[in-house]
């Protein structure tokens, strides 16, 4: 099997490092790709489930741009809808009618919601949700889950990171996932002070097994929130429309006050949404919140096309089925080589870990070996499956995984 080289990626990165902080920053930074020298840094082309790097290597992409790609790269229907809207009007002095069409479509789609507000990134939606909770309750504090991710705003970042001050996180209370007692304790100890509780529908931290909510978790949390007047915020940025077309809260059987969407909503076109209940509509109306590109119409047209197509083909079921096949196949291959590959989270966005080495070094090596053979696997983050991944992709992936395990055995036996 051919082993890829990344000479041009490294060469371009050297140029980038001179003029761009970190060369590549944020979640696309190569730093958590272990080792980065086994990964491509720059993509030049993409189609369906694959992308092609600057060195000419082809990858079956199991990161899907860290979530936005859901129907496949360069999806014809989505791109056509966006192109047509670009041809009519995009970033103009007034919004386009498609904004209303998209809001109506979403409100019909997502149970328990009565309005939709559009922005660009998931972070825009989580900030607005936080502001809405505070405006609605007149309270300051927010409860969140340790290891949960809600964007890069200072309040959402882990204390100690650069650029933060103590005041940024002094009103944030972090509790463990799936721990109703801890939630109740935080509420009791801060009686009348909690504005909101924000969490992802299930826990998908990096570098750790992902966890579904325990039986009755969300229902109990919802009851406590209602009783205490706490705004319940579902951060469905990562899971949204991969688990359930009606939102992941529908999948887990609860109705939040606010839901944040992004990533899969536009199949790569920049758009996010905050949706909420009628009771909060007047409150959010009073918050001044906007952005230069938040009214751009082409991403709205793309989102509408994406959602319609996902619904038409029952995208979540396809991704569930594909993800399940992928995980089953990989687990069996690992077992055949004497390794235990543990999978967690939803099959459409699974987290994997070779348990034979708690340090994750073995797992990191395997993911790198797979990537060097054409299956783009990260070792730190949950993967993403799209509706564009085919049986042919899976078969190729299994061959790659098998060869990578052979390489791993050889390396560690030495």
């Amino acid at each position: 099997m051919d082993i890829y080289r990344f000479d041009k990626s490294q060469e371009l990165f050297q140029r980038a490092a001179k003029v761009i902080p970190c060369g590549i920053y944020g979640h696309m930074s190569p730093a958590p790709l272990i080792p980065p020298t086994s990964y491509p840094f720059y993509a030049v082309r993409s189609k369906g489930s694959k992308f092609y790097d600057i060195d000419g290597n082809e990858f079956i992409d199991y990161m899907c741009a860290y979530g936005p790609m859901v129907l496949g790269y360069n999806h014809e229907k989505v791109d056509r809808a966006a192109a047509e809207q670009y041809g009519e009007a995009n970033c103009v002095t007034a919004p386009s009618p498609v904004m209303v069409d998209l809001a109506e479509y979403l409100v019909d789609l997502i149970p328990g919601t009565d309005w939709a507000f559009f922005a660009k990134n998931g972070n825009d939606a989580t900030i607005y949700a936080l502001m809405a909770a505070r405006a609605a309750t007149g309270r300051k504090k927010i409860i969140m889950i340790s290891g949960g991710y809600h964007g890069v705003s200072p309040w959402a970042q882990t204390p100690g990171h650069h650029g933060l001050i103590e005041e940024d996180y002094q009103n944030c209370i972090r509790i463990p996932w799936n721990d109703i007692a801890a939630f109740q304790k935080a509420v009791d100890e801060n009686s009348g002070q909690i504005a909101g509780f924000i969490a992802t529908p299930y826990h998908h931290p990096n570098f750790a097994d992902n966890e579904f909510p325990k039986e009755g978790y969300w229902q109990t949390i919802s009851e406590i929130c209602k009783k205490e007047g706490i705004v319940l915020i579902a951060d469905d940025v990562r899971c949204g429309f991969r688990l359930d077309m009606k939102g992941s809260s529908n999948y887990f059987g609860f109705t939040p006050d606010l839901i944040c969407f992004c990533k899969a909503i536009g199949n790569g076109y920049p758009i996010s949404a905050l949706m909420g209940t009628e009771a909060l509509k007047q409150v959010v109306s009073k918050i001044f919140y906007t952005g230069s590109y938040w009214f751009s119409a082409a991403p709205m047209a793309a989102a509408l096309a994406t959602l319609k197509e996902l619904k038409k083909i029952d995208g979540p079921s396809i991704m569930h089925e594909t993800g399940t096949k992928l995980l089953k196949g990989l687990e069996e291959i690992a077992k055949g080589h004497g390794y235990d590959l543990k999978t967690s989270g939803h099959p459409s966005m699974p987290y994997l870990r070779i348990t034979d080495d708690e340090s994750l070094m073995l797992h990191q090596d395997w993911c790198a070996e797979c990537t060097r053979r054409g299956a783009y696997f990260t070792s730190h983050h949950n993967w993403f499956v799209s509706t564009a991944h085919t049986q042919e992709d899976l078969d190729r992936t299994f061959d790659i995984a098998d060869d990578a395990f052979k390489a791993l055995k050889e390396k560690y036996q030495k």
Partner: protein, 254 residues
């Protein structure tokens, strides 16, 4: 937490620690100290309590009284007093070992001046590979021995360390440079020199020059990792947390 107290603890437990390497890796200082047989205790009221022992060309620095009976005890009436002494702006109060005063003012000060020489870079020194090698070794030691003190007394590092997870982190410089490690337990973080088997996380720097730039903040970590100049493996959150804690050192040690 007082800023002076944490600075004093870093000076006592992390900076003075470098005397151990100075008497091994600087030939002049190795010869100069080879016959020393003395134990000096630095006692700071409401602050650190450290010993520096010399025996047959070897030096040991640590917390408390050490293994040898102290020949000299130097008293400092406050952490600020000790920090001023470390900056060469104050003198200690000897409470034991008056007969050794000449040793302290003449011979020991030669050693500490040499330590200062290796810890304070300038453009000329940075061009000298030998100086860079020892400065890098000392910077690594200072960094690692600072971590337990920061975790205890720096409010931000304290929060960070509580999320660090348990296990060992190894840090090393290739091809044959120094290796150190930190073991994170439930209630403590223990620094040590040398290699450790099966660390939870590892950070390896390509060579002394890269390590010197990296440890002194002249090389962006994300860029260095992407290019392979610095390699990290294992439980990356531990390395990430360690890196954030290391960035706190500059707030206390100039």
């Amino acid at each position: 937490m007082s800023h002076e107290l944490l600075t004093a603890r870093l000076n006592a437990y992390a900076v003075l620690k470098n005397l151990e390497d100075l008497v091994v890796h600087d030939r002049e200082m190795a010869l100069f100290t080879k016959d020393w047989n003395i134990a000096i205790r630095f006692f700071v009221l409401n602050g650190p309590d450290a010993f520096v022992e010399f025996d047959s060309g070897k030096c040991r620095v640590g917390k408390g009284g050490g293994e040898k009976k102290s020949s000299v005890i130097l008293f400092f009436h406050s952490p600020a007093h000790f920090n001023k002494m470390m900056d060469g702006k104050a003198s200690p109060v000897p409470v034991k070992g008056f007969t050794k005063l000449r040793f302290l003012t003449k011979e020991f000060s030669v050693l500490t001046e040499k330590l200062e020489y290796y810890l304070k870079p300038n453009a000329d020194l940075l061009a000298d590979p030998k100086w860079v090698a020892l400065n890098t070794r000392m910077t690594l030691t200072t960094a690692v021995w600072s971590i337990p003190e920061l975790a205890e007394l720096d409010p931000v590092a304290n929060i960070l360390s509580s999320h660090m997870g348990k296990g060992s982190i190894s840090l090393g410089i290739l091809p044959d440079g120094p290796k150190v490690n930190l073991t994170v337990n439930k209630d403590s973080i223990v620094p040590a020199k040398g290699e450790i088997k099966a660390p939870a996380a590892a950070m390896t720097m390509k060579d002394m020059t890269v390590a010197n730039d990296f440890l002194n903040g002249r090389l962006d970590a994300f860029t260095a990792i992407a290019t392979g100049d610095v390699s990290i493996r294992g439980q990356i959150p531990m390395v990430d947390t360690l890196s954030l804690m290391l960035d706190r050192i500059a707030l206390y040690l100039s």
